[in-house]
């Protein structure tokens, strides 16, 4: 499988304090890979750093042979990466339709609006509602849906199940599986270990701003105990 994303020795700072101390991992084309770890381990920071949203970064982020560590966010997006942020980032001053259509189609190959509606039928009914009036689950669908149009091939999902009811979580799991069959590559950050186990090809474990362990999907059940130590559960 072709290597799509290679992160090597990534360091990141928020102001004066260093959040990532040299993270290294890789994602191959078509994979679903998760970043696991407890709160504060640096998982979200990693995604945000890849996306160029952390002001001070060092190290290497190579995507499709391009070095992106110093690039501004909009160029990273145009390279073909999209982020579904942890806080979902639904704009309250836009309605659902505007939210959905906001990210521009940067490259060919993105899904059409109708295809997105097939994936998330309830969005279709709520088009004129104010973005933030949607339920948590609907907002999450919207957040995922809107990056599907852009033509990005690498989707980064930051804690998509956070705060959602089990039924919705099921739906999201199904969505991720569908996306995988459609050929997307997905980098997933999760605290919900069970959710991650069912979906991912590989897992990385992060602690204190570093990747400390790599677990292949099949080996997950065996390693669950050591995982729980990492997660402090």
């Amino acid at each position: 499988m072709a290597e799509m994303l290679k992160v090597n020795g990534l360091k990141a700072w928020y102001g004066e304090s260093q959040a990532l101390h040299g993270t290294s991992f890789e994602v191959n084309s078509g994979e679903v890979v998760t970043l696991l770890g407890r709160n504060g381990a640096g998982k979200s920071t990693t995604l945000r750093s890849i996306m160029g949203l952390v002001a001070k970064r060092a190290g290497s982020i190579r995507y499709d042979e391009k070095e992106l560590v110093g690039a501004p966010s909009h160029r990273i997006a145009r390279a073909g990466i999209a982020l579904c942020p942890e806080e979902r980032g639904i704009f309250s001053s836009l309605n659902v339709r505007e939210n959905l259509l906001l990210p521009p189609a940067i490259r060919p190959g993105g899904m059409t609006v109708d295809q997105i509606f097939e994936l998330f039928p309830n969005l279709k009914e709520r088009l004129t509602s104010q973005g933030t009036k949607l339920s948590g689950g609907e907002q999450q669908m919207l957040a995922i849906g809107r990056i599907l149009r852009t033509g990005a091939r690498l989707l980064m999902l930051d804690e998509p199940t956070e705060g959602l009811a089990p039924v919705i979580i099921e739906q999201i799991a199904a969505t991720v599986k569908t996306l995988k069959t459609l050929g997307f590559t997905i980098l997933l950050v999760e605290q919900n270990v069970t959710f991650a186990a069912g979906l991912a090809d590989r897992h990385y474990v992060m602690e204190l701003g570093r990747v400390v362990d790599e677990i292949p999907g099949p080996a997950f059940a065996d390693r669950i105990d050591s995982l729980k130590t990492y997660l402090g559960v």
């Binding site: 102001g15 709160n39 966010s73 909009h74 997006a77 982020l83 942890e86 704009f91």
Partner: protein, 633 residues
């Protein structure tokens, strides 16, 4: 003739119409301001100066290039818009991550530079700009006479305002703008070049101001100061309407114009103050503004101004050194200059108490200086009080004013606080203009110096100087004491992280109000003493330009340092005195100092000096409190 409540209907409708026209300009200007603030979180103080550039641009096009009004409507905004883009790229961009205050200070400096340069070129008396032939003349409507051009202004501005609203609220481009206003980094993460969009938006906001200027040229005198007072009214409009709302800005602009017109018909003396009264009421009842929805903008990174406290012995030496210099000063330098500088130094130190140590940057401190001066002057001249009693009376009036305005203003934070204090001070200005006892434009003259305690004749220059010296040193010591006292420490804690201070049990609003009142009192002391020394209290002391001066002095010298404001005051007063022959260029220099200080020199002279000395010693870095970082995953 029909009269309505005693006013002839002709006058009533006429004033309403004139008010509506003013409202059109308010709407256009506050629209531009709201758009810029929404996108960039910068309160563009230079908006008034850019409006002026549009008007003057139209005049220049006509005078030197023979290009008429209709072309000017397009060319002037274009030119000024490009100018705005250049400013954004070169000066504003570095400021987005910083506290909004820096943006306001920088644009304030820019407005001084622009206005100073244009005043130097064109004088401040204004140039005539003829109404274009196609729009001249008027119609007699029966109940009033409507000049055609003024009708055109209303129509044109409505079209422009509604058009802008439509673009922002109903188009794709507008959705990008609105999204970027909420969460610019995320929008950029979707592939949209947000910095370029911001730049163009700023250009558009600026062009809007310039367009208003072209529309205004035939009505108002085209003169370099035409934007200076309008901008403060526009600030009040934006606070009333609510900072985030586009429609709010438009509706409030017209509304304020109408209310002003109405006031002018029934109670003309109140027409200048009514907008500020409206603002005060709105702040009390609906702090977010009539249409406001944008939550209080969180502050950005604030440069830590904490200078390590020098050893106590150094402090004493510094103080004695300053006192000694001031005692022998009159032998070398005109004592009048020294006295004026000392009093302004006291004013600046008082301002610094809340701006530097408390991080409450007030843009309206002149109201305390001036009010105390007037009250003291009145007490000495009309009531015949001896100077120390007159000064006391004046100072107390500043205290009372401080409590009232502080209580109103403290509800707002950061940039809103600055705008509210500015607007309140402007209200005081207009009250002073109208009040009979102040003498209005003439000023309160021939204030007697009298006999201090009934014994010491202050007309004697040496005694007067000694008195001023005592007042200054006393005030300075008081501030130094407050800063190092437990009260001062709490203030610093509040400045660093207010929620944390609150969680420790401190009623932060009370502390802030106390600090604000103390600052007002000391500013009042400076103003009252000044009135006795200069024997004059005038409108200059309550004008917002004076608030800008004290800001300048403090920032130049070093906010948050004890001696910074003193140094800054002496330098600025010296500039006024010795560079007076440069005329308008003094204003330009002031503006340039602001710009340079914000961009490169944030700690000010004394602050940079302290930092430099600190670096040359062995640095003992204290344990840093971890910055509040966003949730790390």
């Amino acid at each position: 003739m029909i009269t309505i409540f005693g006013v002839p209907s002709v006058v009533l409708f006429g004033q309403l119409l004139l008010g509506l026209i003013n409202g059109a300009f308010y709407a256009m200007l506050s629209l531009g301001l709201a758009v810029i603030f929404g996108m960039m979180n910068i309160v563009n103080f230079a908006h008034g100066a850019l409006y002026m550039m549009g008007a003057l641009g139209a005049w220049i096009l006509l005078e030197y290039f023979g290009i008429g009004y209709w072309w000017a409507l397009v060319l002037a905004p274009l030119g000024v818009g490009i100018f705005g883009i250049v400013i954004e790229r070169t000066m504003l961009r570095p400021l987005y991550k910083l506290d909004h205050l820096y943006g306001m200070l920088l644009t304030f400096g820019l407005s001084l530079i622009i206005q100073g340069v244009f005043r130097d070129w064109f004088g401040s008396s204004g140039q005539p700009y003829a109404i274009p032939a196609a729009l001249s003349g008027g119609t007699n409507l029966g109940f009033m006479f409507l000049p055609t051009y003024r009708a055109w202004v209303i129509v044109a501005s409505l079209v422009v305002c509604l058009g802008t609203w439509f673009v922002i609220e109903r188009t794709k481009l507008g959705s990008y703008l609105r999204a970027a206003t909420e969460n610019a980094p995320l929008v950029q993460a979707f592939g949209i070049d947000v910095p370029r969009m911001v730049m163009l938006t700023f250009g558009a906001g600026v062009a809007l101001a310039a367009l208003a200027g072209v529309l205004a040229a035939p009505i108002y005198q085209v003169n370099p100061l035409m934007g200076a007072d309008v901008i403060i009214v526009v600030f009040a409009v934006v606070v009333i309407g609510g900072m985030g709302s586009i429609m709010g800005a438009i509706v409030t602009g017209f509304l304020v114009g109408l209310v002003e017109g109405l006031t002018r018909a029934f109670y003309p003396q109140g027409s200048s103050t009514v907008v500020f009264v409206m603002m005060a009421i709105v702040l009390l009842l609906r702090p977010a503004g009539l249409f406001g929805s944008k939550p209080e903008a969180a502050g950005g990174v604030h440069v830590s101004l904490d200078a390590p406290a020098p050893a106590f012995r150094t402090e004493i030496l510094l103080f004695l050194g300053m006192a000694a210099l001031l005692i022998i000063g009159p032998a070398f330098v005109y004592s009048g200059f020294l006295m004026k500088a000392m009093l302004f130094a006291l004013f600046a130190c008082a301002f610094n108490l809340i701006a530097g140590y408390g991080r409450l940057v007030s843009f309206g401190h002149a109201m305390f200086l001036g009010t105390a001066g007037y009250v003291c002057g009145h007490a000495a001249k009309v009531w015949g009080l001896t100077p120390e009693l007159a000064i006391l009376t004046g100072t107390l009036s500043a205290t009372v004013l401080g409590v009232v305005t502080g209580w109103l203003a403290i509800r707002s934070r950061g940039i809103y606080f600055a705008m509210v204090t500015l607007a309140l001070a402007q209200m005081i200005y207009f009250v002073a203009l109208q009040a009979p006892f102040t003498g209005g434009e003439d000023g309160l003259q021939n204030i007697p110096r009298g006999k201090l305690f009934g014994l010491f004749d202050l007309n004697d220059h040496t005694l007067l100087y000694g008195f001023v010296l005592v007042v200054f040193l006393g005030g300075f010591l008081l501030i130094a004491q407050v800063v190092r006292s437990p009260f001062g420490q709490v203030l610093k804690a509040i400045r660093e992280h207010e929620p944390r201070a609150q969680s420790l049990g401190y009623s932060t609003d009370h502390y802030k109000l106390a600090a604000f009142t103390l600052s007002a009192t000391l500013a009042g002391l400076a103003g009252a003493t000044k009135a006795v020394v200069l024997q004059l209290a005038s409108l200059t002391d309550v004008h917002w330009g004076m608030s800008g001066e004290v800001l300048l002095m403090t920032f130049l010298g070093g906010v948050g340092t004890l001696y910074g404001p003193v140094a800054g005051a002496f330098i600025v007063i010296a500039m006024q005195n010795y560079l007076a022959s440069l005329g308008q260029w003094v204003t330009v220099i002031h503006g340039a100092i602001f710009v340079v200080c914000v961009l490169a020199f944030r700690r000010g002279l004394v602050g940079e000096l302290i930092a430099f000395l600190g670096r040359s010693r062995k640095p003992a870095t204290p344990a840093k409190t971890p910055q509040a970082a966003p949730e790390a995953g």
